[in-house]
Amino acid sequence: MPIISDRVEVERKPKLGGGGPGKIPHRRGYGGGDDGDHGNSGDFHSREQRMRRYRIGMTLCIVSVTAVFVLLTMVYVFRMGKGRFDEDTRRWVRDWIPLTLPYLQLWINSLVLLLSSLTLELARRSMARKEEFAAMGIVPPRFGRDLPWLGITVFLGFCFLAGQVLVWNILRAQGAFLASNPSRSLFYILTGTHAVHLVGGLVVLLYAVAGRLLAVRFESQRIAVEVTGWYWHYLAFLWFGIFALVHFARG
């Protein structure tokens, strides 16, 4: 009998060293792999494992994207507040020209995005239901209200993008170009970065929609819709954040 283990076994609390709790049995089941559903661990490719894995991955993406938008917001606020150094007066002067926002179009876009978030949630739920039935070995009954929510979401997503392009066109018609003033630059950067991220979500949704053509397994479709759902709601939330920023901090 090795001495260390003797010693550790009588310890009530895990000792500091040696990489953790030695031979002490775990109160909360096993380690990472299975989070306590004893025994049924390990299968790397199991449905549940994949879903959890992708959820973690999506959370991490959201964290990273949030860092970027927090940074851009800080750049926005600092740039607006500080202005530029004027050589003649030797002072910092504000050079921020407030933007005349096309509110009507922006509200329409917001509504479209909100709607798409809703339809995606419906799609997610209907898929979750189907999955449950499938897991029970029952062919899912057709629900009357089971519209092609996913397709509608993709459509609304494209509508939102088209709406954003419209916003940019309206601004350009006003003479507000990317380089004309920091308020313009930052508006385009914020909305553009948001749109790029939305396109990413759309690509995944298209993959899920075209699932049947591409012979994607239902399970993969389901995961794609689930995690894109999180992402999509996050982007909608982000959009309102951006909208609030450019509205309340117009300068």
Binding site: M1, G17, G19, K23, G32, G33, F44, L72, V75
Partner: protein, 572 residues
């Protein structure tokens, strides 16, 4: 038993393409990163050689090469820094060894997102090629240093290399950011979701802890660098003015921008850049902790303190960026806060050092090459680290900033310490990665040359800095008091040449061992962590579910038949 090694990329049925290009096997990808970094370090080291030679013998011509001009020196400097920081120090310890060994040490069958990890690798490779392409474009590579301060980096007219060369630099770093993000997502998801049963957080080897914390730093920092790079690109090509102020006159030409702030780039860059320093060194610290325990045949001293220190360094790493900017024109009162926070981050680093030394204390030390390099790491970390609190003081940094003192500081603590950890990891894991042992005798010679080389090259640089020698000077002749320091600079150049020549020993050892070194046993170092499990096949843990019953560092147990207990040995 060589199955888990050479040709372990897959069974023979798979085609060549499938095995080498479309593989999602973490071991193949890890090896890919290893060779990518090897290529980068060779180019980077070659550039440093050219720089050292040009610095002290500006008119010298090397065989097959033209005379090096001041602008070439700056291009070499930029590329040396970029290659070493991004493609070596942040690539091989994290993405290289991490991708290979994280799943094995956790008992997982692969990385959580194998395809994402693979795409990450190919993006990194593309990024490297884009960076290298700058050598052949008109004007050559960028000459603005790896920090790329605008307006120098923002305006093509500011110097040769500031045109296409800088564009390529920005594209390359943008791609590198994407690659790092993709890889980091896989790391965090693997660590949180795919630990084998019984592998609790506090049973993870310290290598896994440092890869995990580093990945979180990557997720927060690299997105920010990507955003900054995009903004700088827009300044260069879309006419925006984020970083370019108004009223500039460059080479007699008026620049039509207004109101940007060069300081904003510095804030964004260093908000990324300081965590980046820890992204480079945390995995190296993890490897050192791991190896000291294995070769001292003793548990890591203060495992929990080590984990805590790793987390503390990760958190504090985001709050100290201003210490790069004490003389930048930032509000000088900010210096107080950044100075204190920077001093604070020295504390967990010191805790780690104490624990390494205490791990060695009373151990049955086996003086194999990996141990030698790990001990070298500790020595270099002490030496390089102790100049940190000095540079953290604005009053002293005002004088020492941008002098060779800083060059000495970060080369010792980040470059040399980092490289020592990479070498020790290579000697240690080579049997697992390539199925054969490296030559111990050559390894030892390599160690002696590199240890003395590192000290003789970088210690004198402190004196240059104390005497006020600014860094990034392509010649010494421009300023009289700098010219007077030529003898010591020549000494440093000779030391650098000898050190770099010594690395030939490593290359010979590496490639010779890869081809016909002695075939390795399943567990040549008698190490207790899961990657040395004798039952893992070429498929990793996919056919085998290890069950972890022990901590990662259970060594030197008297009475047992061996002096260590594998993590997945049956519970007693």
């Amino acid at each position: 038993m060589i199955t888990p090694s050479i040709g372990s990329t897959g069974s023979t049925e798979k085609s060549f393409l499938r095995r080498h290009f479309f593989t999602t096997d973490h071991k193949a990808i890890g090896r890919g990163y290893f060779f990518l970094s090897l290529a980068a370090v060779l180019v980077g080291a070659w550039l440093s050689l050219l720089m050292r030679i040009h610095l002290v013998w500006p008119r010298a011509t090397l065989p097959f090469l033209d005379e090096i001009k001041p602008e070439d020196y700056l291009a070499h400097l930029t590329m040396h820094g970029t290659l070493m920081v991004f493609f070596v120090l942040s690539t091989v310890p994290q993405a290289g060894f991490g991708t290979f060994f994280l799943p094995l040490q956790l008992g997982a069958s692969n990385m959580a997102f194998p395809r994402l990890t693979a795409i990450g690798y190919w993006t990194a490779l593309t990024s490297f090629l884009v960076l290298m392409a700058a050598f052949v474009v008109p004007g050559g590579p960028s000459g603005a240093g790896w920090t790329q301060y605008p307006p120098l980096s923002a305006l093509a007219s500011a110097g040769p290399g500031q045109g296409l060369g800088t564009d390529l630099w920005l594209i390359s770093i943008g791609l590198f950011c994407l690659s790092s993000l993709m890889s980091a997502v896989g790391f965090v998801a693997t660590t949180t979701r795919h630990r084998a049963p019984g592998m609790t957080w506090l049973r993870m080897p310290l290598t896994c802890w440092s890869w995990f914390v580093t990945s979180i730093l990557i997720l927060l920092a690299f997105g920010i660098l990507l955003a900054a790079v995009v903004l700088l690109m827009l300044d260069r090509h879309a006419g925006t003015s984020f970083f370019i102020p108004g009223g500039l006159l460059i080479s007699g030409k008026a620049i039509n921008h207004s109101g940007g702030s060069p300081l904003m780039w510095q804030h964004l860059f260093w908000f990324f850049g300081h965590p980046e320093v820890y992204i480079a060194i945390l995995p190296a610290m993890g490897v050192t902790s791991h190896l000291l325990s294995v070769f001292a045949r003793k548990p890591v001293f203060g495992y929990k303190a080590m984990v805590g220190a790793t987390l503390a360094i990760g958190a504090l790493g985001f709050m100290v960026w201003g210490h790069h900017m004490f003389v930048s024109g930032m509000n000088p009162y900010a210096g107080f806060a950044f100075s204190t926070l920077t001093t604070a981050i020295a504390v967990p680093s010191a805790i780690k050092t104490f624990n390494w030394v205490a791990t060695l204390y009373g151990g049955r030390i086996r003086y194999a090459t990996p141990l030698l390099f790990s001990a070298g790491f500790v020595s270099l970390f002490i030496t390089g680290g102790l100049t940190g609190p000095i540079l953290a003081q604005p009053a002293l940094d005002v004088y020492l900033h941008d002098t060779y003192f800083v060059v000495a500081h970060f080369h010792l603590i980040m470059a040399m310490a980092g490289v020592f950890a990479i070498f020790s990891a290579t000697y240690f894991w080579f049997p697992k990665m390539f199925g054969r042992m490296m030559n111990e005798r050559l390894g030892r010679w390599h160690f002696w040359v590199t240890l003395f080389g590192a000290y003789t090259t970088f210690m004198p640089m402190h004196l240059l800095g104390i005497a006020g020698h600014p860094r990034r000077y392509s010649e010494l002749s421009g300023v009289q008091y700098v010219a007077a320091m030529a003898p010591l600079q020549k000494f440093v150049t000779v030391a650098a040449i000898v050190t770099l020549l010594g690395q030939i020993i490593f290359l010979v050892n590496l490639f010779r061992s890869m081809l016909n070194g002695p075939v390795a046993d399943a567990n040549p170092w008698e190490c207790s962590t899961l990657e040395w499990n004798s039952q893992i096949s070429s498929e990793g843990f996919s056919n085998l579910q290890p069950h972890v019953n022990h901590g990662p560092y259970e060594y030197n147990i008297s009475g047992a038949e061996k002096d260590f207990v594998m993590q997945d040995a049956p519970a007693s």
